[in-house]
Amino acid sequence: MEDKAIVVQNLVKQYPRVKAVDNVSFNVDKGEIFGLLGPNGAGKTTTIRILLTLIAPTSGETLIYNLNTAKNSEDVRRMCGYVPQDVSADGDLTAYENVLISAKLYSMPPKERKTRIHDVLNFLELTERANDMVNTFSGGMMRRLEIAQAMVNRPRVLFLDEPSIGLDPNARRIIWGLIKKLRDDFGTTIFMTTHDMGEADVLCDRIGIMNRGHLATLGQPGELKAGVGGDIITLNSSNPNFSQKIKELGYSSISNSPDGHCDLIVNNGETLIPHLLDSLKMSGIQVESVSLKKPTLDDVFLKYTGARIEEGDSFAETRRARRAFTRRTQ
């Protein structure tokens, strides 16, 4: 346990009507990018808020660098940085002032302050806009500024709640690059939440999938995808003997519709397709179309929770996400 950045044990958060976090346990290694993945309302943000001492857990224990977050709340906050899901840079101040106030609140010595602020603004490519009012910034720039605010203190653990929500694809890629660079350059442990499978796949060393307060599964993205069972090859043919022949060749089709449509679960689909097509051709069956689907984290999510990730958003959360999006893109 000593070498872990974050330890969460049997964490429960009970709200009057709903159990937001239900007996969740996991660890995060130092220098790891760890992602909590799940739909809105799965309990990800609640978990972050408990770790950051913003709310108290109902039961269970959380440690950050061996400090109990409930008992040493101020020390825990001192070594963490937080970028909330909502827009949290202050639009009525300049970028420099936003970072300055953060630096002061983390009691950075005045001597170091100036160089640190310039360094962090430079790192996040905001130097040119440092003295502009933040309410003139684009969503992507605001996100970078928020990361600058969280990073100026050089936190050991950086919490990112939905870091790319509401950003356009280009801004999103820039943010992803920066998150990786933060870890590589400073060894910062990064704990992030997302409901975007692609984001989790690109960024995270390990992923925990949360659904309705439970941790459904935990592992490296590759492991989790392999656990789904392999690739899916979809074949179409109008030959009446099609499905019969598939069976004779030793493949089992998971769906077998009469109109000559077969889904096969296989390993290494891309190398198998040529052989499969050759064998079918020799049996006199003309295949009209073929497609290969590699498993995604979406499939992983489906397997462990029984639902697609787009489902399950409550009205309030959808509205909130939309509002955040509008604010970022205005």
Binding site: L54, I55, R77, V87, D92, I101, E146
Partner: protein
């Protein structure tokens, strides 16, 4: 030693939060100017008109003119009317997510509240200066003793802190800007009328008098009236005691409320 350190950190965090608010004012000064309008109207229109009523001076104690009597009341009013809506800012910041981020810094909850209250105090000072200048233009005879003026500014800062903390405490219960707006409206007038701001307590309906006695604004007005108009400082220590006690009480309530606000 560590207690001393903790106290130093507490107050320095509060000052940083106040700095944050004041930097915002520096970028957008319109609100400061706009807020000078209302107290100016009270003094220049209401005050001047009421002075013309022949009977009014017989109710005013200690041979003051009505404008002399009323100027401290307008000072208190200008601070109250702004501070009582301060909670709206906090609800707004909660909705924006600014509050969550502020709470994730090492600054303690009550130092955040204290900082915000301090910034309300500084805003109050700008208005107080405007009211005093206007009173001098209207040739209201005020005691312009530097120590007395400093005392008035201290009271202005305290009353702004007191009612902004009260407002933030209420904000943590009502949680929406619209409701907060309504509650602010409902509260200002009773606080204002049940104080000696624009008429002496002696001529109030008797059922209001007990309310005036527990209304912190009464002591605020009384303290400033002593310093600016009568020069009789007997009750000043009591005035300060009540104002400071009320400020601390609401500071504590607002700090407790802040926790509820984000969970």
């Amino acid at each position: 030693m560590s207690a001393l350190n903790a106290a130093r950190k507490y107050f320095s965090n509060a000052i940083i939060i106040a700095e944050l608010e004041l930097r915002k004012i520096r970028h957008d000064q319109t609100q400061i100017w706009v807020r000078m309008v209302q107290p100016a109207l009270w003094l220049a229109i209401y005050g001047l008109t009421m002075s013309k009523l022949s009977g009014i001076s017989s109710f005013i104690p200690k041979n003051l003119t009505y404008l002399q009597f009323m100027t401290p009341g307008v000072l208190a009013q200008s601070a109250l009317f702004v501070a009582i809506f301060f909670g709206i800012n906090v609800v707004w910041e909660r909705d924006l997510g600014l509050l969550n981020k502020l709470l994730s810094t090492p600054a303690s909850r009550s130092s955040i509240i204290l900082g915000k209250a301090l910034s309300a105090g500084v805003r109050g000072i700008f208005q107080a200066i405007a009211v005093i200048i206007l009173a001098l233009i209207l040739q209201v005879h005020l005691i312009m003793n530097p120590l007395g003026i400093i005392g008035v500014f201290v009271i202005i800062i305290l009353v702004s802190m007191c009612f902004s903390c009260m407002s933030m405490a209420i904000a943590s219960l009502v949680k929406t800007r619209e409701r907060m707006m309504g509650i602010g409206q409902v509260m200002t007038m009773p606080l204002f009328f049940a104080s000696s701001a624009i008429y002496p307590i002696s001529i109030m309906p008797s059922w209001i008098k007990p309310i005036a006695v527990i209304n912190p604004l009464t002591y605020v007005v009384d303290g400033m009236r002593d310093l600016l108009a009568t020069g009789n400082l007997h009750s000043l220590p009591l005035d300060f005691l009540v104002i400071v006690a009320a400020t601390i009480l609401f500071l504590i309530l607002a700090s407790l409320g802040l926790k509820k606000m984000v969970s």
